[in-house]
Assembly symmetry: C2
Amino acid sequence: MRQITLDEAASLLKEHDKFRLLTHSYPDGDTLGCAFALCFALRKMGKLCNIAIDGKLPSKFSYLAKNYREQDFAFEYVVSVDVAAMQLLSDSVMEGVDHIDLCLDHHRTNSIEADHIYVDADAAAAAEIIYQLLSLLEVEPDEDIAAGIYTGVSTDTGCFVYSNTTPRTHAIAAAVMPYCSWVEINNINFVLKTRAKVKMERMIYDTMEFYAGGACAIVYTTLAMQEALGAGDDEMEGLASIPRQIEGVKMGITMREKEGGVFKISVRTNEGIDAAQFCKQFGGGGHPAASGCSIEGSLGDVKLKLIEAAEAFL
Amino acid sequence: MRQITLDEAASLLKEHDKFRLLTHSYPDGDTLGCAFALCFALRKMGKLCNIAIDGKLPSKFSYLAKNYREQDFAFEYVVSVDVAAMQLLSDSVMEGVDHIDLCLDHHRTNSIEADHIYVDADAAAAAEIIYQLLSLLEVEPDEDIAAGIYTGVSTDTGCFVYSNTTPRTHAIAAAVMPYCSWVEINNINFVLKTRAKVKMERMIYDTMEFYAGGACAIVYTTLAMQEALGAGDDEMEGLASIPRQIEGVKMGITMREKEGGVFKISVRTNEGIDAAQFCKQFGGGGHPAASGCSIEGSLGDVKLKLIEAAEAFL
């Protein structure tokens, strides 16, 4: 296991020919954007490459795969993209994989076990790393590659809103925009809402409670609420950002009931409050401003645990 | 009245010393960002400059003016920034102004009467023009100037979401970010909501109706609704974007009741549907994707007029 430079990462990619790219569970725009951009780049170089995704590609991201068909070959080199920890690699993604050759990531807390690791924690999105690799690999962006890069950098920054955005993020967006339908990508990821989603948002606001003198807001969704609205996973996207948007709130917590008596918890915080540290006490992690964990229990019990932890933490 | 180049505009600014900058009614982030950025730049060059605003500076934009104090002098050169038409200049803004010397704008429909006019309709925000002027005026950005530029480009593009964004917009954001508190600016303009605003949004969703087979969504606020929530002008900002966000909607219309039996109408449209053209039939105008007008009458009458016009238009 060795930390390497970007140049070394590029050399490793050049040296190999049969790739499998691994994406993290609950795949988001960055892990998928990275995988499709890198896959199309490697294929453009004449290499074979497939992508492993946990479950089906979320329908909102289907535009990333419009020119993607699975190739038939036995992979020899495994690369994880935007994956922070081994437990974020599902059994189906790890099928046939005995070890990871190269890890490309931007999570400061990265703990992937791989032969070679390149982590750039200053990158707002792992897609920034993929973009920088393109020139080292001497691959010109095309529509598919650009759509992946743009999707990664825009979704991981809330479309250039969040504090992780840097001048480099904007420069990369500017560079790939001419090649892809970024207006459509923005519409899909940041503008359009289904009527079911609007109803879900309104229902979520009904659950909002404030603690720690208004510094913590907590909301929840249950399976029953989701069923009542006929809301699919697409409608549940982005709900995590709601509680922290309220003026005065420094920590926003979203509890989402999943099958099997477990709640998926998303935590969003203002500068100076470490969401990853907060989630660590429940076995989770992520970024300082956006982290998550899973807690088993009833709605009331899990909520109480979170409120007590939040009041102690703030 | 003469169309001039950016270089000529810079020369005119260099040649004069006592400025008054005019901003448009219902001042937004672009007209205010332009005015403060240009004002601080001209003052840095040793010139005298004041800004004319219709009414009070909206409190959310108070950060633009933290180092601004009115100067005591008689102005000799009048510049309008981001003002598309004479009727957008209120009596208070035009006090003591007998003519406009220079118009700097990015509205394709610009109809300002001025001695010299520079319009760049490819600029996502008029602030892009002000940024380009900086290097011609040999002024380095500082915090105040950068905050104005960033505010202009970010607010006029919905933080780089809308189709008017270009690679240049991103490049300008990248260039000014290091000088200003852009995270705070984004929080103010794109993230934070007061509890009153959340309530207002929910109330607005209750008024939403669909026409033209779901292609047109219309919502309204009344003075009574606003009073019931204790919502100020800040809470009313940004509501115009709500109806067009619903999947399938190509034209979103927001009606806002103002004092004196008049409704302020905001129209937001998808590509290919000209909002400015639609608003023109009611004496209004703006951009192809975002325009406005005012219509007198009762809630029911004004709504009916708009629905009929929208169904004919779509």
